[in-house]
C-alpha cells in the first residue's frame, strides 16, 4: 500500500455567480515511504489549490469535482471539516507554508503556537508535557532551543523562523509533508541548512513522504526524487528528477527548463515567465491541449484534441506529439 495516493483528482471553485472554475484537473500520483515529489509550475497554475485538495481542506468556494486522495489508505474525501481539522491536518498531512517570515503569529511566542497545535489535536495533554515534548523535538534542529521557543517571531532570524515552522508542522509526525517554497526567502547557506534538516527529519522517520513545491527547478534537482510539472491545473509531465531535468519531453517542460537552467540556482528574480503568452482561462471549458496557445510546436489539431497522459520514455507526458 502506498503512503499517499491521488487518483484523478479534479477541483473547482464555485464563484458567487454560479460559475465553476476548474482549477485542478485530473491529477494522479502515488508516493511511497521516503519519497520526495517535486511539483513545479508557474504561479497561478493551480499548485496552491492542489495543496488544499491534498489536505482534504475544502473551504468554500473550493469544492472537489471528482477523484480521491488517500493517506495510508484512508480517504480524505467527503469528510467533515471538523474531522479533517482534528484528524488529518498536522497528524496525517502537514503543510510547510511559503514565506515562513510571516507564517508565525507575530504576537505569540513560538512555544505558544506549538502548544496551540498540540492542544488542537490531542485531548487533555498537560502543559508541562507539551513543553518537554517541544523541547525534545526542537533540540533536533541544532538551534538554541530555549531562545527560539521563548521568542516572538520578530526576534528570530529568517532561518530560525523557517526551522521553527518546519518543527511545528512536523510536530505530530505526519505521514505527508507538503512544503510550499520552503526556502524561497532564504539565503543560499540557510537554504542548505534547511534542506538538510528536512532530509534529516525524513531519514529519522518523523514524516514519511514529502511534496516539495517550487518554481525553482534547479533546487528540485537536489531535493526531489520525482518531479511533476503542472500547467493550467494539469500535470503535463511526471517523471524522475533525472528525466525531467535533463531530458524533458513535454514542450512546456522544455520551455520551462530553457528559462530555468540559464539562471543561477537560488536566484529568485528569474521566474519561469520567459514563455510568451498567458495560461488559458479555466472558467471556460477547454477541449484541446491547454498549452497549445503558447506551444512553439503546436499543430492545429492540438487545439481540438483532448490530451491524455501517456507514457513516453519512461515517464508520463500529456502531449500526443511528445516522443
Amino acid at each position: 500500500m502506498s503512503v499517499f495516493e491521488v487518483q484523478n483528482l479534479s477541483l473547482h471553485y464555485l464563484t458567487r455567480f454560479g460559475q465553476k472554475i476548474h482549477a485542478v484537473t485530473d491529477v494522479s500520483f502515488t508516493m511511497e515511504k521516503g519519497e520526495i515529489l517535486g511539483i513545479a509550475g508557474e504561479s497561478g497554475c493551480g499548485k496552491s489549490t492542489l495543496v488544499n485538495g491534498l489536505m482534504g481542506l475544502f473551504i468554500p468556494p473550493l469544492y472537489p469535482t471528482s477523484g480521491d486522495v488517500r493517506v495510508g489508505g484512508e480517504s480524505l474525501m467527503n469528510r467533515s471539516p471538523k474531522d479533517i481539522r482534528e484528524n488529518v491536518l498536522c497528524r496525517k498531512v502537514s503543510m510547510i507554508p511559503q514565506g515562513a517570515f510571516n507564517a508565525l503569529n507575530p504576537t505569540c511566542k513560538v512555544k505558544d503556537i506549538a502548544a496551540d497545535v498540540i492542544a488542537a489535536h490531542m485531548k487533555e495533554v498537560d502543559k508541562k508535557h507539551i513543553y518537554s515534548r517541544l523541547r525534545e523535538r526542537f533540540d533536533l534542529f541544532g538551534m538554541n532551543t530555549d531562545k527560539v521557543l521563548n521568542s516572538h517571531p520578530i526576534q528570530l532570524t529568517a532561518g530560525e523562523r523557517q526551522r521553527s515552522v518546519i518543527g511545528i508542522s512536523t510536530l505530530l509526525n505526519p505521514q505527508m509533508v507538503i512544503a510550499d517554497e520552503p526556502t524561497s526567502a532564504l539565503d543560499v547557506t540557510t537554504q542548505k541548512v534547511v534542506i538538510k534538516m528536512i532530509f534529516d527529519l525524513l531519514e529519522k522517520g518523523i514524516f514519511s513522504t514529502m511534496i516539495f513545491i517550487t518554481h525553482e527547478l534547479p533546487l528540485l534537482r537536489h531535493v526531489a526524487d520525482n518531479i511533476a510539472i503542472m500547467y493550467a491545473g494539469e500535470f503535463v509531465e511526471v517523471g524522475t528528477t533525472e528525466q525531467i531535468v535533463f531530458d524533458p519531453r513535454h514542450p512546456y517542460t522544455k520551455a520551462l527548463m530553457g528559462a530555468m537552467l540559464s539562471a543561477e540556482p537560488g536566484q529568485k528574480q528569474k521566474k519561469p515567465t520567459a514563455i510568451e503568452g498567458a495560461p488559458p482561462n479555466l472558467a471556460n471549458p477547454i477541449e484541446g491541449c491547454r498549452f497549445a496557445e503558447r506551444c512553439p510546436v503546436a499543430k492545429p489539431e492540438c487545439r481540438k484534441n483532448k490530451q491524455d497522459i501517456r507514457m513516453v520514455a519512461g515517464r508520463q507526458v500529456r502531449c500526443e506529439y511528445a516522443e
Partner: protein, 357 residues
C-alpha cells in the same frame, strides 16, 4: 546611557514628548481665549449693569476686573494710569500668575459661575461624564470589535446582514438618534425617563435607591452613544480582521488545524492593536465628548460647563477644562503607546534593534 534599557528609554522618550506637548497645550489654551475680541467683564456687565448710573457701573466693572486679575493691583489697590483708568494686566503677567496658582493646586474662580471654584465645578461634573462615557466607550469598543472580528471571520450571511447594518447605524447622526430615543421610549412609550441623571426626588448618595435610579436614567443616554460607537468600531475591526485574515499566519494556523476559536483569538489579538489607538483617542476626548448627549438628556456633566465657559469667555473655566482634557488625552495616548509597546512584540523588537518606534 540608557542603551541597555531600551524599554525604559522608549518610555522616557515618549513621556518627554508628551510632557512637551502638555506644556505647549497649556500655553496655547491659556492664550487662545484671550485672543478673542471680547472681554469677560464686558459680558458680565452687559447682564448686570442695567439700571446703574455710569459711575456705579464703572466702579462695579473695576471691582470685577480686579477680582478676576485682569488689571494690575498694587497693595490691594488698582494701579491706574495718568487718566485714572486702570492699567490692564498683560497676558504674560496673567500667565505667570496662573502657573503659580496651578502649582498651588488652585485653578482659580469661575467668572461665570462666580464664586464657584473651577476645581469644584470640575469635581462635580466629571464623575457624571466619566460614568456616562467610560462604560459606553469600553462596551462599545469591546462589543463592536468582537462583532467586527466575527463578521470578518465568518463572512457569509452574518457578515452580509451585519455589515451594511453596522455601516448604516454608524452613518446615522447620533444626536438625532438620541432625540428619537427620547421621543419614542420616553414620551410615546413612557418606558424610560426623558431626561436627568437620576430621579428628581432622590438626593445623590451611595444608597441602593440612588444607584437604581441612576441606572434607570442611564439606559437611554447609554444606548444613544453605544450603538453608533459599536457600529463604527465593528466596521473598523471587520476591515482590519479581513486584512489579517489574508495574512500568512492565519492561513498557516488553518493549515495546522487550529481550532476556530483559537484562530479568531489570533485574529482579534492582531487586528485589535491598531484599534487600541482609536480607543485611546475616544477615552482621551470623552471629557468634552458628551456635550450633545448632555443637552439632549439634560444629563449632568462637564460638556455644558465647557460650552458656556467658552461662550462667556470664562477664562479660568476654559483653562481648567482644557487642562483636564489635555491631561486625559495625553495620558490615554501615552498609556496606549506603552501598552502597544508591550503587547506588540514587533514594536518591542524594534526598540531593541534601536529603530525608535
Amino acid at each position: 546611557m540608557l542603551k541597555q534599557y531600551p524599554t525604559l528609554r522608549y518610555i522616557l522618550q515618549r513621556g518627554g514628548w508628551y510632557f512637551l506637548t502638555f506644556l505647549v497645550a497649556v500655553t496655547i489654551n491659556f492664550f487662545l481665549p484671550r485672543l478673542g475680541a471680547n472681554n469677560p467683564v464686558d459680558i458680565i456687565m452687559g447682564k448686570s449693569a442695567s439700571g446703574l448710573s455710569a459711575e456705579n457701573a464703572r466702579i462695579k466693572e473695576e471691582s470685577y476686573l480686579k477680582e478676576f486679575g485682569l488689571v494690575k493691583v498694587d497693595k490691594g489697590e488698582i494701579v491706574r494710569n495718568a487718566e485714572g483708568k486702570p492699567v490692564k494686566a498683560s497676558g504674560l503677567e496673567q500667565f505667570a500668575n496662573y502657573i503659580k496658582m496651578c502649582f498651588k493646586g488652585d485653578l482659580g474662580t469661575s467668572f461665570q459661575k462666580y464664586p464657584k471654584k473651577v476645581l469644584d465645578v470640575i469635581a462635580e461634573a466629571v464623575p457624571w461624564t466619566i460614568a456616562l462615557q467610560l462604560p459606553t466607550i469600553l462596551f462599545g469598543w469591546i462589543i463592536g470589535n468582537v462583532l467586527g472580528a466575527l463578521a470578518a471571520y465568518r463572512r457569509g450571511v452574518f457578515d452580509r446582514v451585519f455589515f451594511p447594518v453596522a455601516l448604516l447605524i454608524s452613518s446615522f447622526p447620533f444626536f438625532v438618534f438620541g432625540m428619537l430615543l427620547v421621543y419614542y421610549f420616553a414620551v410615546v412609550l413612557n418606558w424610560f425617563p426623558a431626561m436627568g441623571g437620576y430621579a428628581q426626588e432622590i438626593i445623590p448618595s451611595f444608597s441602593f435607591e440612588f444607584l437604581r435610579s441612576a441606572a434607570y436614567y442611564y439606559v437611554l443616554p447609554f444606548f444613544s452613544i453605544f450603538l453608533i460607537l459599536a457600529g463604527g468600531q465593528a466596521i473598523g475591526m471587520r476591515s482590519m480582521g479581513i486584512y489579517e485574515l489574508g495574512t500568512d499566519y492565519i492561513k498557516y494556523a488553518k493549515w495546522l488545524g487550529l481550532k476556530e476559536s483559537k484562530i479568531i483569538a489570533y485574529l482579534f489579538r492582531n487586528a485589535m492593536l491598531p484599534q487600541l489607538t482609536g480607543l485611546a483617542l475616544s477615552l482621551g476626548t470623552m471629557i468634552s465628548g458628551a456635550l450633545i448627549t448632555e443637552m439632549i438628556f439634560s444629563y449632568p456633566g462637564l460638556g455644558m460647563a465647557i460650552l458656556t465657559a467658552i461662550q462667556n469667555n470664562d477664562y479660568p473655566m476654559i483653562q481648567g477644562c482644557t487642562l483636564l482634557i489635555t491631561i486625559s488625552v495625553l495620558i490615554a495616548n501615552f498609556t496606549v503607546d506603552i501598552l502597544i509597546g508591550f503587547l506588540d512584540p514587533r514594536v518591542k523588537a524594534g526598540l531593541q534593534i534601536g529603530k525608535g518606534n
